[in-house]
Every structure is written in C-alpha cells, then in structure tokens.
Symmetry: D4
Subunit: 254 residues, 8 copies
C-alpha cells in the first residue's frame, strides 16, 4: 500500500461499483507478495527488464532459498541476486533453478537474463584482501544494468597507485570505495572526485580493526565531502545504491 496512485485507483474502482469494499480490503492485503509460509515473497514491483530482485541468503536453508527464487522466477523475475550464499547451498540451488554463482563474494544470480550497461560506476579497493566485498558490489551493480570499472589495490599507503588512476575516478558517475583497516580510502577519494561516493568498510584487518569497526568509524567521520557509508562488508547495499544514483534521470527531464 506504498503507492498513492494504486490506492486512488482502487478507491475509484470501489466507487464505480467494480470492486466490493470487502474485496478491496482483501486486495490491499494480499496483492503485493506471495506467502510461502517461511517467507513473504515480494512480487510487488513491476518486473522490468534489467531490474534485479534480491534474496538475503544468510540464515536461510538451501531449500528456502531455492523456493523463493523459484517463486520469483515463475513470475518472470530475471537476474535475481542471492547474497551471502555458501558454496554448498549454491550447489543445491543450482540443481533447482538456473544459477550463475561467484564463490569469492558468495553471490548467486538466479534466472540470469539480458542486462543493460548504463553509465559508469567505479568500484575501488584499498587492498587485494577487500576484493570479495568489492566483487559483491560490482556484480550487484552489473546485475542491475550498470557499467562497472574496477580499480583494486589502490590504498592510501601507496598514494601514487591512486593518483595515477585519477582519470578513471574522474569519469565515474558514482564511486564505491571499499576498504578495511583504517578505511582512509573513502576520505581521500571523497576529496578528489565530484560525484557521490559510497564507502564500504570491510572486516579485513586484525587487532584494533575490531571486525571492521575501525574502518566504519573512520568512514563515518570523513563524510563531509559527498560520501556516505553502508554496513561493514555490505557490498550488495553499496552496489544497489550506486545503481540508483547512476541511473538517476537528469533534472532537465522533469
């Protein structure tokens, strides 16, 4: 019921006598999802080409994941992202539905289909060890129809690696900065580019990195210049938001 237009339409059809009030109430309650018992599958958004749906895999059984994916696929969903799914679960899911699986970022793409290649999102990492999270972001963005440029291992301890790629950064419509440990990458990139920067702290590190807390705090404290932060290791969230920003319509089309 999150759409003014839909409510108006429904009310009008009640007013026209086309719909009984009791049925309208029913529709308001049952339309937007399919209830599998263990999950209420969201089928509300129109299934547009290139758009991706997502299943959070952690804490779900392989059977539940496959069940949700199948329900979505049957309704015509394509490029359904499954995040935080281990190899074993993926093997089972792949036996039930078409699946493209990436082991390092533990990401699956069920019912893979055609995808667009819009705009330009740069995904940068501080180190090689941040790659799994960065790939989750990059693959998510690609699944949602965006063009992605990868810029890995450009951490601030060797600043020349970053500076020599300034032209790559400058051509981005949105940058995803992935870094663990001290997380300074986001601050430095935020000071160099003019587009929105999404910072992803990673749990890479040891000791006083406290599982990504250090990078998280560091990134939150450097947000003055157009960057914002998502959860530790949340590559998916960064890729999803980057897609939204990259695909913004221009102001002049209003």
């Amino acid at each position: 019921m999150d759409n003014k237009h839909d409510i108006l339409c429904l009310l009008r059809s009640v007013a026209n006598g086309e719909t009984r009030p009791e049925d309208a109430l029913l529709e308001l309650k049952e339309a937007p999802f399919e209830d599998l018992g263990y999950a209420k599958v969201d089928l509300h958004r129109s299934v547009r080409q290139g758009a991706a749906e997502v299943i959070y895999g952690a804490g779900k059984t392989p059977e539940q994941i496959a069940g949700i994916a199948a329900a979505m696929g049957e309704r015509g969903c394509r490029n359904i992202l499954i995040t935080r799914m281990g190899k074993e679960a993926a093997d089972y899911v792949a036996s039930q539905v078409p699946l493209e699986y990436h082991e390092s970022p533990r990401l699956g793409l069920a019912f893979p289909g055609e995808r667009r290649d819009l705009g330009n999102i740069v995904v940068a990492t501080g180190g090689t060890s941040d790659m799994p999270v960065a790939e989750e972001a990059a693959l998510t963005a690609e699944a949602m129809g965006n063009h992605v440029t990868r810029l890995y291992d450009v951490g601030v301890a060797g600043l020349h690696r970053l500076l020599s790629n300034l032209d790559v950064l400058m051509q981005a419509r949105c940058v995803v900065a992935v870094a663990g440990m001290e997380g300074a990458l986001a601050s430095v990139i935020g000071g160099l580019v003019d587009c929105p920067v999404i910072a992803v702290p990673t749990s890479v590190g040891y000791g006083a990195s406290f599982g990504g807390l250090s990078a998280l705090l560091s990134m939150l404290n450097s947000c003055a210049s157009g960057c914002s932060v998502v959860n530790i290791d949340n590559g998916f969230g960064a890729g999803y938001l980057a897609s939204r920003i990259n695909q913004m319509e221009g102001l002049e089309t209003k």
Copy 2:
C-alpha cells in the same frame, strides 16, 4: 593536483617553453589554496553561481572563522556555509562579513547571494527534537541551490503520520531521513521510495541511545534498500550529498 586535465595543460605549457619547469613545480604546489597560517583556504574549485563552500566552525576561534570567510569572500565565493558555530562566534563573524545566521542548527551563511531552486529533496524527521539537525541539512541543501520539502515528526511509532505523506515522499529525487533513538525511520522510508535515501542518526534520546549510537547502528543495518548513512548529527554532510545526487545529470546527456 587532482585533475588530469590541469596537469596535461601545465605539462604542455612547459613543453612549449611558456613555463619553466621550476615555475611549474611551484604552481603545482601553490595554486590551489591560500595559506592563512592556521588554515589553508581551498580556492581551487571554480566559483560557480549557486555552489557553496563550507567552513567547519567547531574548534576554530571566531577570528579564524571570520578570517577564512573573508579570504573566500574576497575571491568571489558566495553562500559560504559555516557549520557548528555558536551564537557568540556568529555575533563576531557578523561584525566582520555579511552573515545570515540560524541559531537552532548553529549554521551561518556568509556572503549570502542568489541561489537556484533545483529538483526536490525531502528532509524528514522522526520527531520534533530532531529538527536542529534536519534544519542543518535543509539549509545546506538550499544554500547549494536545491528545492527542499520538510516533513517533520513522522516517526514510525505513529505510522499513519508517515503513510499519509506518501505522495510527498514519492515526489522526492532524494530523501534525507533524520532520526534519533531507534532510528527506524530510515528503514521504513527506504522500503517505501525508489530514490536514494540518506540516513542521519541524531544524538536525540537518552540511556541506551548512547549519544546516537543506537540510531547509527540501526541505520547501518537497514541499508539494503538504497540507503546509506552519515555521521551522527551530520546534517551538513547529508544536505551536501543530497545536493550532489539531486543535481546529477541524466544518463542520456552522456
């Protein structure tokens, strides 16, 4: 030296013999800012109409704030934001440079000038007590040339207050969700709209809100659906980023 084009130009002028190598080095080093001793004022960005510069007021003396603002104003900067500036400091600064001051968000606007009114940014708050932070965001966005719609006191404890403003939310190009305590506002809005959502945790609350930590963690954990987070009470950062997103050029202009 954060601009490929500038370096190329400079190198070419060296190649042409128009610039001596030593002078080029000097230029690389001295151009982008003016050194006031206690501050290196950034004058690097071309001064475009509607664009705002910012001075972080906390921890600076009134004299330092006024000095930096004056240096900027002399170079033609307009609509210079001064954040976290107390009433007393504002009184001094206002005696030195033209200043528009907002007491509740402790925000000043030095050398106020003409501003554009582009697009639409919605700034929403969970409660009345979140208003100072929300105003920092809203005034920042307005100073940077954006149209802002305020939607205050729509916290999730009384969900109907939010739901009855769905049409306002739906028309936003970007939403800034400001909330303290449990910070659930960002999650709920994130599930309702399709545009980017910037979550601002506030230090409003007591006890286990731990100065905004509760809202911060809550917001970080709900980022799956297109929202991201800035620092606690960082209204400025949210307004600045919202402006970047709101003023994105459309993909078709590439």
Copy 3:
C-alpha cells in the same frame, strides 16, 4: 491507517457514493493528527476517561510543549503526561495550560482530571537514589488510572529489607523493579513473584556502571523468569507498560 475497521468503513462509504475517492484519500491522510508544523499531534485514539496521552519533553522548546499540550487539551484530552521537562520549561507551560508538576522526576501532568484506581502495580527501587525514575513510573501509572504501591530502598545488599516485604510483592499484578549499579533487584524479584516484572535500569552509580549500562546488561541477562527490560531511566515506559498489563481483561471475558 492502522485499523482494519476504519478502512472498511471508509471504503464502504466510498462504495455508497457518500464519499468521493479523492476525499477518501484526503481523509486517510489528514484525520489522525493535527499538524502544528513542528509536530504532528496525535489525536487518533478516542479520548477515554482515565487514559493519558504523553509528550516527550526533552529537545522541545517550552513553546512547543505548551503548543502541543494546548492542542490536545482543546480536543478534550485530560491527564496529558509531559516527560523530561525541566523546572524552567514547566514554569512556562504552567502559564499557558493547567499543569501539575513533579520536580524530582521532571514530570508534568497537563489538564489534570479525574482518574481511576485500578488493580495494583508495585514500584520497587534498589536505593533511595533511584527514586526520581521510580516516581516517573509511579506517577505515569497513576495518571493512567492504576493503583500503585511504592516499595523503595529494598536493594539486594540488605536482603531482609526485601524479604520482609514479600507480602506486598505477592499482591501485585505487575511489578516495576527500578535499580542502578548492579541491577540485581530485578533478578531477585523475578524469582520471587509470579506476575510480570518490568525492569528499569537507572543511571545511578559511578565508574563501571557506565551510565546505567551495567544495570541494563544485568537485567537483560536475568530475564528468564518473566521479566523484561526498558531503556535506562525510562520510568515512563515502565509505568505505561505496567498499566497495559495491570488493566488486561481476563481470559474468561473472551
């Protein structure tokens, strides 16, 4: 829109042609509260005798508090609780609306009216220093029409003080256990009584009490036997919930 019955009624009146769809949408949006600009005052609940409304006073100006209270009072609300309101603010509010003010728990009761005296809620404290929080709970419960028995300074360090009041505890329908420092009171009471126990950690203490964190954790870890916890110093929340429990209808009335 949180009430199935109301939606059905509205839909039926649209179906009858008594209401236009556009008006229905409007009604859905505007009915439940009055918009004061800085606050959306909730007038949704039917104003029953003995029921209290509440205004969270912290972070609001005296003018805002008085404005909200006046708006409620005009609609017929009585016994409106105002929490976390300092003496100075209370003086202003009292100049605008009828107000009963309790300084130690910083609690006001605007438009005080007749109240019921139902059931029995025991409010117990570990020490004398926990009294302000306990009074917030007790006065809240009284404002909502409950009978309250106070049992103060019965902390576990002198167990006989608690044990000699066992009969008082045994006659409660609900116990509010208020304690700071090590917060063991809730555990001990939880093991003695059969009714629900609401634990309120207080910020009383120093050093490793960390502003109430110690009592909070202690209480959360002892919840096995029918007790639950509210926020640190949240006397109001405990009193409100105790009222709900105390006024439960019996199963046999179903």
Copy 4:
C-alpha cells in the same frame, strides 16, 4: 522461603508442638528443591497441569540434563522445556526420558503431556532468518498452554507485508516481535497495537549488527509505547513472559 503463607503455617505447626524448631529449620532448608550435587532442582511450585518447568541446556553435560529432567519427571512434572540443547545432547537425553525435540530452535520438551490452548499470542519476525528464535518463543508459549499465531517475515523494509496482517496483530493479547539487524519491527508494531509487546532482538545480521547489539539498542530505544525487551536470541524468555501476560486474570475477578 519465598511465601508468607508457608512460613505462617510452619510457625503455627511449631506453636502447636506438631513440629520441633530444629525440624522446622530443616524443612525451611530442604523442602523446596532436590540436590543432585551439580544442580539444585526446583520442585517448589505445585505441579499444575499445563505448567512447564525449564532446564537451561547450555553448559550442561547431556548426563546432567537427563538427570535433572528425570528428577523432575519423577515428581510428576510434565512439558519440561530444555533450551539451547544441541542435537547430540538431545539424542542422549531422548534415550533416558521421553523427549520431543525441535532441531532449529534447539529446544526439547521432556515428558510431553496434555496442554491447554488459552488466549492468543502473536509471534512475528522481521525475516525468515529469525525463525529459530521465534520458534523457541512460540514452542515455549505452546508448552505453557497458550494459543500461538505465527506471523513470519513481515519486516519493515516491505511495510505492506506487515500492514496487510493488521487484523492478525489486532486480535493478539500479547505480541512477541522477533527481529535482528535494525530491529525496527518492534517499534512499528508497538505503534500499531494496544496490547503489550515483547521485543526479542536476534543475532541475525553481520558487520555493525555486532551480534544483535544493534537490534537490542534499537528496541530499547523504542519502548515508549508499551513494549519491553528481553536478551538477544532469548526466545524462551519472551514466550514465558508472553504466557504470563496472556494468562492474566481480569481485574473484575479481584
């Protein structure tokens, strides 16, 4: 010695000469439990039909669990809950006493017997991954003789899933809201229903969820409207308390 009536009786029987003082002291000391050496089994409460006793399984050896359960069973206890018992321990216990075991919530029911089906408790979860904790709550409440309605995967990110089940929520005498990550479910439900809400934060999540801390803080900060909180993942505690509230006698029976 937690019962005024018992003490009086005992004292009277001493006064009557029916009991020697030394024996009375002995009785005060030995009656309420059976000492197994490693555990003092509580046999104090009269064994009423439908009432459940509980064994906290974590940190106990299978032999200890079986020993305690057997001691209780011999005294006539039925529907004895065993929480946090792994599959392996359950296998051993099942070889010693009658046992019903639920693997996902790691919950056992020893000496299962007849149960009542009183009132109505709704157990709601934010996501599918919260199900093990929710089941611990639901099965606990059922073992204690309550009617339970499950409402799973209704998290606030897709608000329509919750809103379309408003009628289910409205019919509850008590709601248990189980959620991890940002834990906003409790706030939203707390604003929708009039009955007591028990919030259970879960350790579901990653990164800045910090093992359930995020949900815990979020829930503690939203307790103004009739909800309270139990320990992270403490489904048992929530089910136990919900049972107490659901089975409250009505005020009119006083």
Copy 5:
C-alpha cells in the same frame, strides 16, 4: 533473616508459646531496619565500638542524608561514613549532626567517636592525582579501626620510587593499590608482596583512559598473584574490604 541462629531462637520462642506465630512473622519483617519512607535504615548489625556504618551520599538530598545519619546516631551508631557528599550537602548535614568532613575525597564522618588502630594497611597511589580516591580508602579504613600507612606517587614510570619503599610494603597485612591511566601499579605490587592486594582503578587520565576503563581492564588482567579489583574510584569499597582482611582472626584461634 540472614542468620540461622536468630531464626532458631525465634522458632523456639514460638514453640515455647512465648511468641505468637503472627508476631513472629511480624518480627521477622520489621526488626532489622527503620523505614524512613525514602530509605530503610539498616540497624541490624550490633553496634560494636569501632565498627562503622556507611551512607552512599550521591543522589540523595542533604535532608535525606542528615535524616538517615540522625536515625543511625540515635540508635548509638558512631563513626558513620558518608561517601560522595559534596561540600554544600556537608554544610547542611553538619548543621544537623556532628560531622567531620574531608573535602578532597568528599567524605564525611558523622557522630565521630573513639577508634581503634589495628594491624597495618598500606594505601599506595601511582600519582599525586589519585590522592582523593586514596584518601577515601584510607579514611574509611581508619574510621573502621585500622592503622593505615600512606605511600603516594610511587607509579611504575619511576620504578625506584616504589622499590625504595619495599620495606613499607613488606610490613603490610593488606595493600590498597590506587592508580589511573595504565594501572600497572597493582601488577607490580602484586608481584612484590605476599599479602592480599586490592586494586582501585581511578578515572584519572584522558583520551584512551576512557574514564578509568583502561586502568580497570589492566588491573583485572593482572589478578593472578593475589590481587582483586573494585569499581573505578571506589576508594570506600577498597578501604572497607581491606579492613575486613586486616582484622581477620588467625587460623589458630579456631
């Protein structure tokens, strides 16, 4: 009711017909303290010469403190310690009861009387800034009849200051080690002496001392060799415990 002997006596007197059961119950409930409403004053312990009672002053009004002290004094208590009482409160209390006040440790001694000077407790500090806490410990111990030796400013950064006082340390029956910042004093003393060491972390320090947390953790981690820890800044607790240890009867007197 914390005394087997008392219960037996009472039961016997009931058995003898000297006491009615109802009166016995009453006695069990009312004897051990006097109820002032805001406080239940403990008068349970026999008032022996040299023994001190204590009132925790923080969070109590001057009137409450004076009231409790007066009630104790009337029953014959002497050397009543009042901790954490500010200068202003002390002035009021001194106008009501005989009071000896120490401003730096904010400690009062009401109804000061004769005191013994038993054994030997050494109170050592890491620095000059730890003196207020150390004095709270030393004065507490003295009020309770112990001989106290002060050894201030012997922190480990200048180890020779400590080592040159080894003979003082060696003659202690119990050492109270008071230190802030890194709190290493307790570890070093613990390795040097054979008597029990009570470590008191102080909130002296800045930055990563986090209000005494650093010293607290440090001291907890060095407890292997006969030392234990009390709360941050809890000089009273350390002095009280030191008194108990110092006044232990010898094993051979059993």
Copy 6:
C-alpha cells in the same frame, strides 16, 4: 631483589669481603629464576610444604609446559598448578612428569604431594554451567592447603536455594562467588556474610552477556560490602587470593 632483608644480607657479605662486588651483582641478577630460553622459571620463593607454584598453560606448547614443570619439580616444588591446559597437552605433560589432571576445569597438578586442609573457603556458583570455573578455584585452593566447601547452583533466581544454605555461608572465612549472566550472586552473598567475598564473573550466558562482561560489570558495581572482583573465568586467581585470606595470621600474633 624484592626483599629488603636479602639485599641487606648481600651487602653485609660484600662488606665482610666474603663476596666480591662483581659477584654480588651477578647474584642479584641470576639467583631468583632459571632461564629456559622461552621462560624464566621463578624459583625464588622458598619451597614450603603445601605451597603451590603455577604455570599459565594457554599459549604455551606442551613441550614448554612440561619443561617448566620439570625444572620446578627438580628444585623440589610440589603441587604445581597448570591452568588452562587442554586434554591433549595434558596427555603429553603426563608422559613427562607426575600429573593429576581435571578435564572440566582444564587444570593440572604436577608433582602432586601432601597438602594441608586449613580453615574454610566456600566456593558458590549461580548455576551448574559455572562449575568448570568454580572447580578451578576450588582445586587451586585445595592445592594450596585450604579446606574447601562447595555450594553449587544457588543462583538468585531461586533465592530459597541460597537462603537454606545460610549456615554453610556463615561458617566461611572467605567466600568465592562464581556466576555468569547477571552475576547477582556476589551482591546477595556480599550482603549476607561478614567475611571477604571474591567475585568471579564467568562467560556463561549468551547475547547481552557479551562473554562475561555483564557479570563483570554487575559484580564491580556491587562491591560496597566487602567484595572484590577478579577477571572473567579466572577461577585460579580467586582460589589463590582466597587462600591468602584464609591463611591470614591473626592480629594478636603480631
């Protein structure tokens, strides 16, 4: 060099010409321990009957543990405690030196010998799950020549289990209170007995027990009445300190 008397003796022997200055320096440096390379084995204390030495087993290889134990044993040490030693390491050590091993508290006793049985230390636990830590304390105290009384599973949730053992508690010269979760046991015992109480928080619990933090803070905040705290799960430290206190000489022997 931690002994005034030893230094004086040595200096006198230098003065007498019996010792050369260079040799004295050497002696000061080499006497108190044997250097095994990976460990400096402390042989400094005179090896008295009944006294125990201790090896912290965690982080040491089985070979290192056996090597240190052997070096001690050769010098005549008996009843050498080895803490935090896993089963596998114990098997190796037992193949090298005489060893008595207790698996649940992971404690070994190398070169077990005759032991005294002095005084009386009570070791109490809140629950059955706290037994491994309690056994570490009890076995340590026994190895050091103390009489130990165990009082397990007397947590405050069922207060009668504790109260009915008051006479056991009253006869202790020192109580070790071992508890996890909310750790209230120490507070309650501290209010009941007159002897020193050593509180040992355990990591038993889940969720907001945060690995023992909850019990630790709880115990630190209840130290007013003669109790103090050691590190989480530090049964050894508690047993060691209890021994020191239990074996205090009486004041009258001075």
Copy 7:
C-alpha cells in the same frame, strides 16, 4: 636503582669499607627523588643543558604544581614542562616561579632557559581545530632542544594541500601527524616519507568520532609503514618521543 653502573659503584664502596651496608640500603632508597608528601619529585637524571623535565598538571592543585616546580628549579632544572594546566592554575604558578605559559595548548614552561635547535621535526595537522594538540607537541619538542617545522591544516580531504608540501615532509627526521575525525593523515604521510611517523589522534570531531576513538583506531590500523601511535590528545608524549628519535646518535658513532 635502574642503573647497573650505580649499583656496582655502591657495592664497591661497601666492599671498600667506605660505606656501611645500612647506609647503602638507605642510599638506594632515598637518593633518586625528593619526597614532598603529595609527590616524589624525580631528580635522578643528571641535569643537562637543554633537557626538559615534565609535570603532569591535571588533577594537581596549583599549590602542588608550584611546589614541585620549585623543588626542581632549586636543583637546577631548566625548561620544566607543565602540561594540562589551566589558565587559573598558571596564574598562581607564575606568581611563585618563572613561567612561560601557552594558553591554547594549556602548557607551561617553568624556569625557561637556553635551548638548542637540533635536527628537524615536522608537526603536521589535519585541520585548524587540531592546533592545540599540535602546539603541545611542537612546544614540547622545542623545549627539549629540537628544531620544529609546523605544517597545519593539510588533511586528506584536500590532498593537494599535503602534496604541495612534500618537500617539507621529505626533509624531516621525524614527523608528528596530528589529526582527529577519521585520522587518515597518518596513513597518508606514513606512505610518503621514510622517517618514523608518530601519530596523535585528537578528540576533535563529533558523533561517531567518540571522543577521538575513531582517529585512534584508524591510526592503529595503518601502522604498517613505520608509524606508531600515542594516546588521544597526547601532544606532549609525541613531542617527547620525537625528540628522542630526532636526537638519536648515528650508528657509526658506536
């Protein structure tokens, strides 16, 4: 007794009969400091020209500070640093001993004397607000005879400000990097220079900077390349250590 040579000399003089053993013990105990009661003033180090002593001012009364400074001055100390001394205390101290006071870093220099100007230490800050801490470092280093170059407001958000000062950084023997908020300055400088870098986190910032914790963690996590960290706001410690490093003798002089 921290000096092998001193002990040998003393032992030899005892051997020669020049010193009695009792006197030697006395000397070992009393020589290295003067005992003022509240402080043990360290006079142990030979008073060399240019070397500074230090008094930690926080938590000491003005009288104590002046007393310690006077005792040092009388022994010939010059350039005695007094840290964390407020304006009011400084006024008193200046009335007792010669004092040079710097208000912003709250630093005093008692008995100011001649100073050397050795080597080159660069003190850099991220922002203007970090200046008080930076000045504490710089003035400390100058008081200890070092040449200091200040490089303020060169934070990573405007990287060109730092890069254009590369030659200044390159000429340092040691760099002190002072920064709050995200603390990335240390990482970036650490990657640019070859000399030791001392990172000083400051409490500058708000919200998730948590009083300097963010900068502290960030700096600890970026220490791979030759940098290390001191306490939050510990400008003195950084300046002191920088002096030690700057004044290192060369390896070839061994």
Copy 8:
C-alpha cells in the same frame, strides 16, 4: 608522484623536448608499480641491499601471494617479508619461489639474501605466550638488517626477572616491548631506558583482556616517557619501525 625530485626531472625532460607531455602523464601514472590485476605491486623504492619489502598475507590466496613475490623477485627484491601466512599457503608459495618459513609467527621470507647486522634492537616479552608476536618483530627487524637481542618472559609480575636484565635493556638503541593481559611491561621499561620504546599489545589473555584491548589501552595510557604503540599483535609493524629508528643517521652527519 611522491617525490619532488622525480617530478622536476620529468618536467625538465618535457621542457627539453625529450619527453612528450602525453608520455609524461603516462609515466607519472604507470611507473611506480606493476599491475597484476588483483594487486598493484610496489616497485618504486630503489632496491637496496638489505632492505626488505613486505606482503600482507592475510586475505590473499596462495596464488596471489606467490604471484606478488615472484614479480618482486624478478625485479631484484630480496628478503621479501610475507606476514600472516598460514602453513598451507607457505607450502604452496615455497613451491613457486625460494622461501624461508617460520611457523609460529606465520612469517615467510621470500628470496632470502644477505643481510646486515646493524645497531641493537631489544625485543622483550611479558610472557612465553607472547613469543609468536615477538618473533614476528624480531625476524622482521633481522630481515631488514638489524641486530636483535631477545629478552623473553620478563613480565612485571616477577619484577626481578626484568631488573636483572637491566644491562641488556640499557644497551638497546630501541626496545620493542611485547605484552598481553595488562600490558604493564611497556610502562615499566619506558621508565627504565632512555631510547624509544615501541609497545606491541598482544591478544594473549582471556576474559577482560578482550582480545588485546586491555593491553592496548594500558600501553596507550603510559606513553608519556618515550614510548608509542602499534596495533594489537602487529609484530611486523614494530620491527619495521624499530629498524627505521635503529638505522637513523646521527645528527652530526647532517
């Protein structure tokens, strides 16, 4: 581009017409490292004899580690440190490049070559369990051409073990103090020596050591006297920094 001289040279060659501006830009971008896709290998520093390069092994696949090491080795690097590399990964790497592997500190040295033995660095530990971290520091320093003296198991609980090695400490040019638990070793050493002290907290300990947090805070709070801190368990960082300090040129060579 972190070197003023290099930029000048390049600009001059552009001025001479020897380099085209486009090529210069290219060179600025590509020279300093080799891009392996997953890593940008730093080959920027001139490969001097005795200097070591480092690969952070954690989070990298064995193939990535070997690839990076091989790329370095081909360019002539020797003594390449590989930190935090498990046994299994080491086996693979050793099959690809020459490797010296140390299992306890999980440290590899690829392409081992000739090394110098300069100056003197003392590496001290509090206990035997700190050895793996200490060895990482010691081996790092040795790989970089320094002479290292090991001083293990000299913790402050047995102070004589440390004091009897004062002469070893006194001869150091730099001390690395490695300790877990309460971390007091650094404070004590810092007060004894005059050279820079690098403190390394270790995660050795349990309970309230919180994975090294206790030692970390302790060390940060004792930094007044010339010591500084690196990350928990960061032996490499300490060894690297110690090398920089040990190999400082003397001031007189300027």
